[in-house]
Symmetry: C2
Subunit: 678 residues, 2 copies
C-alpha cells in the first residue's frame, strides 16, 4: 500500500466518523480506480484542450452572472410564466455576453454550456439562430439570405419556424396552409383555411417571434404547384402586438420545456412581397410562372440538421442523468452487507452500456455533424448537395430515432436508479424526462423516420442487387451475395466477440438478411402490406443504423493510435466493445431466429456482455467524471461531485419556501373535520 | 349492404362535408365493428350491473358538484399550492358526500370514481383510510384498533404512514428511528438520531396529518429488540401546529401527484404511552419485557395490500391512456392514402396487447385482491394468516413489479401514439406518466421485490425437489421432474399456440429450467454471486409471475361459460390469447436459447401474435369503450368519445388564460433587442 493510499484510507476513516456520511469516502475510493487519465479523457470528450478549458470558463461565467444563473431555490418551483420570463432574461443576457466575448471558441463554449443548463433556453435559441437561418440558407438565394441574416443575428427581428400544422406533421404533403400568388400586386397571400391547418407547436410563436418562415402550398393561377418556404411577419418589433392578418398565441402548459413559448399561428390573408418566397430551388417569377424544385424532398432538408442535433441533445441530457445516477449508486448503500447499490447487477448492466453509448455517440455526433455542415456550407454547389442528400437523410432519420428512443430509456432507467428520490423535482431527472421525451415525436416522428430509413435501405439493396456500387452508410450492402451465401456464424470463442469487426460483420449480415426477407414479403403488395410490416421495417432500420454507428466509431478509433489520445485507446476500445455487445445482445432473438447464432453462441454473447459490464463498473465514477458536468448544471443534490449527498438534499428541501408551517387551507378544509366542535 | 349500413354511410358522408372533421364518422364506423355487446362488456369489466350503474351515478355526481369537479380551465395550469388546496377541498367534500350516501355500493363507486379522477386525491385518501387503518388492524390488538378507528373514519384525526427513511427504504432492517422504552413513565420515547433517519416521502405528513403510525427500532434496556409500529401525534387538531418534539414539513415540488403533501418527519424525543405500540404480534409489557413477533417479516405485511393496489392503479391509469391513444389513432389520418394511423402495425402491435393486458389484469386484480382481503378479515386466526403470508407476499411482489413496469411502458407508448400532442399538458398523458411512474420505486422498489419473488421461487423449488407438495402460486413446481426431462416443445401448428394451456405450460417449463440453472449458479456462492446474477433472478420472477397471471385468468374464464357473461367468452378468450402470445414472444430469446422452441417455431409464435393484433385491432374502439371512462375523467380533448377532437383541442388551448396578448416580459427583455433605438 502506497503512502498516498494509506493517507487516503485514514482520511476516509476520519471522515466517516465525523459525518456518518460514507459518500465522500466512497467516491474518492471509486475515483482511485481509474485506469486512464480522467483529465485527458475530459479533454478528449470535449473535443480538445482549448475547448475543454473554454467550457470551464463558460460554466464559471454562467454561475456568476445573476441574469444567467437561475438560483437553486428557484428552478423547480417556478410557474410557467416565471419560467418564460427567466428564459427570455437569459436570452437577452446571452446576446450581450456573446457580443462581449472575443474568442469564437469561447462563444461556442458559452453557447453549449447555456444549452446544457436549460433546455427551454436551448430550444428558443435553436429556433432563432439555427432553424430559421438554416432555412434561409438552404432555400433562399444568397441575396435573400443576406437580406435577413444581419437583423436575425442581432435579434432586431426574432424568427420562428412554422412547418407542422395541427392536423399534419410528419406527412408534409398533406399541409393545408396556402401561399396564393397575386400577380397584379406581385404578392403572396398567406392563408390558413381550417382549424387543422393552424400552424402548431411553433417554438417562440407563442409570445416572442416577430417573424416566421412558413411552409405552405404555393398556389399559382388557382393551382397548387409545390410546397415552399415564405418569410412572414408576425408581430410589431416595437409593441409586440400581432400584425393584422395574423392570429397567434400560446399552446399553454406543456410536459417539459415550459420556458419555451410554443405557439399556434393562423393566417387570414396576410400579404407578403413575392420576394419573401425562398427561391433557391423553386421560384415564382413576376409573370406568375412556377419553376419547380429539382427535388421536392429538399423542402424537408432543414430537418436533417435538426435530427442530427438529437444526438447532441441525447448526450447532453443523458450525461447529466447518468452522472447523477452513477454517483448516487456508489454512495447509496443497501442490503444485508450494506452494499453499494451500484454493485447490483440490475444497476450496472443498465448504467454501464449507457455510459459506453455516450462515449460512442460523442464520436458519431462529431463525424456525422461535420458531414452535414460540409453540405450546408457548400449548398451553392447544387450537385454536391443533391448527390449526398439521400444518404445523410437516411442516416439522420435512423440516428434521430435510435438516440431519441434510447435516450428516453436511459432517462427512465436513471429515474428508477434513484429509488424513490427522482420523485422529488429537486433531483432533476423528472425534468430531464419531460424536457427530452418530446424529441421522440417532434422534428419528425420516429416511426415515420424509421420507415423512411428502411425505405432507403430497401432501395439501396435493390441497387446493390443490380450490381450498382453503393457508397456511404449503405456501402456494406455491396456484399449482398457473400452475406446471403453465409448461413451462420463460425464464432467459437469469447475473444472473437470483442473484435468490433466481428460485431459490425454480424450486424451487416443481419441487416441484409432482414432486408431481403422484407423485400420478399412486400413484393407485389401495396400500402396495406407495407403498413402491416412496419415493425419489421423499423427493426431493419434499427440494425442498419447500429451498423453505421459501430462502423464509424471503429474507423475513428483507429486514428487515435498516433495522437495525444493514444493512452485512452484501451478504454475507448472497451466502450466500443461494451456498446457493440449491448447492441448485439439486444438483437439476440433475431440472430437466433435466423440461425446465425446457435443457442450456445448466444449465451456466449450474453456472457461477454455481462462480463464487460462488471469489468467497466469499476471505473464508473472516473468515466462519468470525465464528462465534467458541474454540480450547478446537474441541479441534483444526489449527483454532487463530493458525494456528500444527504445533507445537501435535506437542506434543499428544508430551504424551499413553504416547507414548514400551517397550510393556507387548514381552517377552510381541515379544521372543520378535525375540530368539529369549535 | 343493410339499410342501416347505407344510412350510416350517408350520414357519415354528410357529416364529413359539413365539418371536414372525419373523426365522428370514423369512430361510429369503428363502433359498428363490435362482435360483442359493449354494454355487457362494460358490466362485466365493472364487476356487475349494479356496480356499473353506480359508477355512472358517481361520475355524474362528481361532474355536477363544484367542490369535487376541478374544471377544464384549471387542472393542468394550477400551481402546487393550488393543487394541494383543491385536493383537500375535494377530500372534505368527499367525506360529506359519503356520509350522505345510503348505499354501500354507491359509496364504493363514488370512491373509485374519485380516485380515478385524481391520483393525488386517491393517494391522500389511501394513506388515511387504508394504509393507516390496515396497519392498526394488522398490528394492533382488537382493542387498539377500536381505540383509534372511529376518530380516523370520521376524520377527527388524520393519519399517515411513516415507514421509509431518507437513507433506508426497501431494506427495512436498516431503519434508524428508535422507540426507547422508559419503564418508570410507562412510555416510549421516539427519536430520529440522524439526517438519514428522517422519515421521508410520508404522504400527508407535509401539511395535513395529525397522527402517524411509525415503524421504529424498539429499544428496551438499551437493546434493540425488534422493528415495531407506534402511533405518534404530529399536529394539533385545533391549530394544525406541530406537536413539541416533532419537526415535519413538505418535501416540495414533485414529479407527479402535486396535490398530495408528501412530507418528512424528525422526532426529537417525543413521548407516547406504552400502549401506543401496536401489540398484536410483538409487545412490551409494563415491566419492560419484550415479547417478539412469531414472524418478524410480518412488519411489512401492510405493504402487501399496497402492492396489490398497483394492479388497480395500472388499470385505472392505463385504461385512460389507452382510450385516448386508441380513439386518436382511429381519428388521426396520415400518409399517402390518408390512412388511420391505427392501421399502422407499429401502433396496433403495441396498443392491442395493452388492451388485452388490462382485460386480464382486471380479473387478476379481483382474484388476488379477494385472497388478500380474506386474510386481513381473518387476521385474528393467526395460523391462517401466517400459513398464507409467504405465497401472497411472493405473488404481490411479482405483480406489483410486472404491472408497475408494464404500466410505465404502456403510458410511454400512448404518449408516443399521440404524435407530438402529448407534449401539451391538456392531453393528460404527461400527467398520467408523472403520477404513475413513482409506483415502480415506491411501496417497495421493483428490483428489490423481484429479488424477493425469485427467492421465494428458489426456496419453493428446493422444497419441491425434496418431494414436498406445494400449493398456491408455486404449485406448478411440483412437476419439476417432468419439466426437467422434457427438452423442447413438440408444437407443430399455429392452432396449438392459441391454447392457453400450451402457453402456461411453456411458461412453467421455462420457469423451472431457469430456476434450476440459477440454483446451480448460486450454489455455494454468497451475497456477491447473488448480486452478480440479479438480472437472471428478475427474469425468473417475471416468468413465474406471468405464469400465475395466465393460469389464474384461464381458470377464471372457464367459470363464465355458465353465467350471463357467456356471450363475452369468445372475446375474453381472445384477450387471453393475445396477452399470452404477447408474453411468450417477449420471452422468445430465452425459449430459443434454452432450445425449447426451434427458430421456425419461434417465427410461428410471432406470426400468431401479430395476426391476433391485427385481428383484434378491428374492435379496438368497442374494446376501450367498454371501460366506460367519461370524457371529463379522461381530461384529454384528443380522447373524446364523439371523435370530434380538433375543435375541442383548439378551444381548450384558446380558452386558457394568457393564451394571447403581449407577454409581461416584452418591454423588459425583448423590446430592447428588437427596437433598440426607441
Amino acid at each position: 500500500m502506497s503512502s498516498e493510499e494509506i493517507a487516503r484510507k485514514r482520511l476516509n476513516a476520519i471522515q466517516q466518523q465525523l459525518t456518518r456520511s460514507t459518500g465522500p469516502a466512497d467516491l474518492s475510493r471509486e475515483r482511485a480506480n481509474a485506469s486512464f487519465d480522467v483529465n485527458q479523457m475530459k479533454t478528449f470528450f470535449a473535443g480538445g484542450k482549448e475547448f475543454s478549458e473554454a467550457m470551464d470558463d463558460a460554466y464559471r461565467f454562467i454561475q456568476r452572472d445573476p441574469e444567467l444563473y437561475l438560483g437553486d431555490e428557484y428552478i423547480f418551483d417556478a410557474s410557467v410564466t416565471e419560467q418564460r420570463e427567466a428564459t427570455m432574461r437569459q436570452l437577452r443576457r446571452y446576446v450581450e455576453v456573446r457580443d462581449m466575448l472575443k474568442s469564437s471558441l469561447l462563444v461556442r463554449a458559452f453557447h453549449d454550456a447555456m444549452c446544457q443548463y436549460s433546455e427551454a433556453f436551448s430550444m428558443r435559441l435553436y429556433v432563432h439562430e439555427i432553424l430559421f437561418p438554416q432555412a434561409l440558407r438552404l432555400f433562399g438565394t444568397s441575396e435573400q439570405y443576406s437580406e435577413w441574416i444581419d437583423d436575425l443575428l442581432s435579434w432586431r427581428i426574432i424568427g420562428c419556424f412554422a412547418m407542422t400544422e395541427l392536423g399534419y406533421s410528419s406527412f408534409l404533403r398533406g399541409l393545408e396552409t396556402t401561399a396564393t400568388f397575386d400577380k397584379k400586386a406581385d404578392e403572396f397571400i398567406i392563408n390558413s383555411p381550417s382549424i387543422l391547418s393552424t400552424k402548431w407547436w411553433v417554438g417562440m410563436a407563442g409570445e416572442t417571434a416577430t417573424h416566421t418562415i412558413v411552409l405552405a402550398q404555393t398556389v399559382v393561377d388557382g393551382k397548387k404547384c409545390g410546397i415552399d418556404w415564405f418569410v412572414v411577419p408576425l408581430r410589431s418589433r416595437k409593441t409586440g402586438r400581432l400584425v393584422a392578418g395574423v392570429a397567434a398565441g400560446n399552446i399553454g402548459t406543456k410536459y417539459g420545456r415550459n420556458g419555451l413559448d410554443n405557439g399556434w399561428i393562423q393566417f387570414s390573408g396576410i400579404r407578403i412581397p413575392r420576394t419573401n418566397m425562398m427561391m433557391r430551388w423553386a421560384s415564382v417569377s413576376p409573370d406568375g410562372k412556377y419553376h419547380p424544385s429539382p427535388n421536392p424532398a429538399l423542402s424537408y432538408a432543414p430537418l436533417i440538421g435538426e435530427r442530427l442535433e438529437v444526438i447532441r441533445a441525447t448526450i447532453s441530457t443523458a450525461s447529466r442523468a447518468l452522472t447523477i445516477a452513477c454517483r448516487y449508486g456508489c454512495v447509496r448503500r443497501q442490503g444485508a452487507n450494506n452494499e453499494q447499490i451500484m454493485d447490483f447487477q440490475s444497476y450496472y448492466v443498465q448504467l454501464m452500456p449507457g455510459i459506453a453509448g455516450l462515449y460512442v455517440a460523442n464520436i458519431i455526433d462529431r463525424i456525422t455533424g461535420s458531414k452535414w455542415n460540409k453540405l450546408v456550407d457548400n449548398v451553392d454547389d447544387g450537385t454536391l448537395f443533391l448527390n449526398n442528400i439521400a444518404d445523410i437523410h437516411g442516416i439522420s432519420a435512423g440516428l434521430k430515432s435510435i438516440y431519441g428512443w434510447w435516450g428516453v430509456d436511459i432517462l427512465e432507467f436513471c429515474r428508477r436508479s434513484l429509488g424513490g428520490h427522482a420523485y422529488s423535482s429537486y433531483n432533476a431527472i423528472g425534468e430531464f424526462i419531460q424536457d427530452f421525451s418530446p424529441i421522440t415525436t417532434g422534428g419528425g416522428d420516429n416511426y415515420t423516420l424509421m420507415n423512411q430509413a428502411a425505405k432507403y435501405v430497401l432501395g439501396s439493396l435493390k441497387m446493390a442487387s443490380n450490381g450498382i456500387k453503393l457508397e456511404g452508410s449503405v456501402a456494406y450492402l455491396n456484399n449482398i451475395q457473400e452475406a446471403l451465401s453465409r448461413s451462420n456464424s463460425s464464432m467459437a470463442s469469447e475473444n472473437e466477440i470483442l473484435d468490433l469487426n466481428f460485431i459490425t460483420g454480424a450486424l451487416a449480415w443481419l441487416s441484409i438478411r432482414k432486408a431481403k426477407a422484407i423485400e420478399t414479403t412486400l413484393s407485389g403488395g401495396g400500402v396495406a402490406v407495407w403498413n402491416d410490416n412496419i415493425v419489421h421495417l423499423i427493426k431493419l432500420a434499427e440494425i442498419h443504423t447500429h451498423h453505421y454507428i459501430l462502423s464509424e466509431y471503429h474507423n475513428d478509433l483507429v486514428e487515435y493510435g498516433s495522437t495525444e489520445y493514444k493512452d485512452l485507446l484501451p478504454m475507448l476500445t472497451q466502450m466500443g466493445q461494451l456498446w457493440g455487445t449491448y447492441v448485439m445482445q439486444s438483437l439476440l432473438e433475431l440472430f437466433l431466429e435466423e440461425g446465425y447464432f446457435s443457442p450456445s453462441q448466444a449465451k456466449m454473447v450474453k456472457k461477454v456482455f455481462y462480463d464487460l459490464c462488471r469489468k467497466t463498473r469499476k471505473e464508473v465514477i472516473p468515466l462519468v467524471d470525465a464528462w465534467a458536468v458541474p454540480d450547478f448544471i446537474l441541479k441534483a443534490p444526489l449527483g454532487r461531485y463530493d458525494g456528500d449527498i444527504y445533507p445537501a438534499y435535506f437542506n434543499r428541501v428544508r430551504n424551499t419556501p413553504g416547507c414548514v408551517g400551517v397550510p393556507s387551507y387548514w381552517s377552510k378544509y381541515i379544521k372543520p373535520m378535525t375540530d368539529p366542535d369549535s
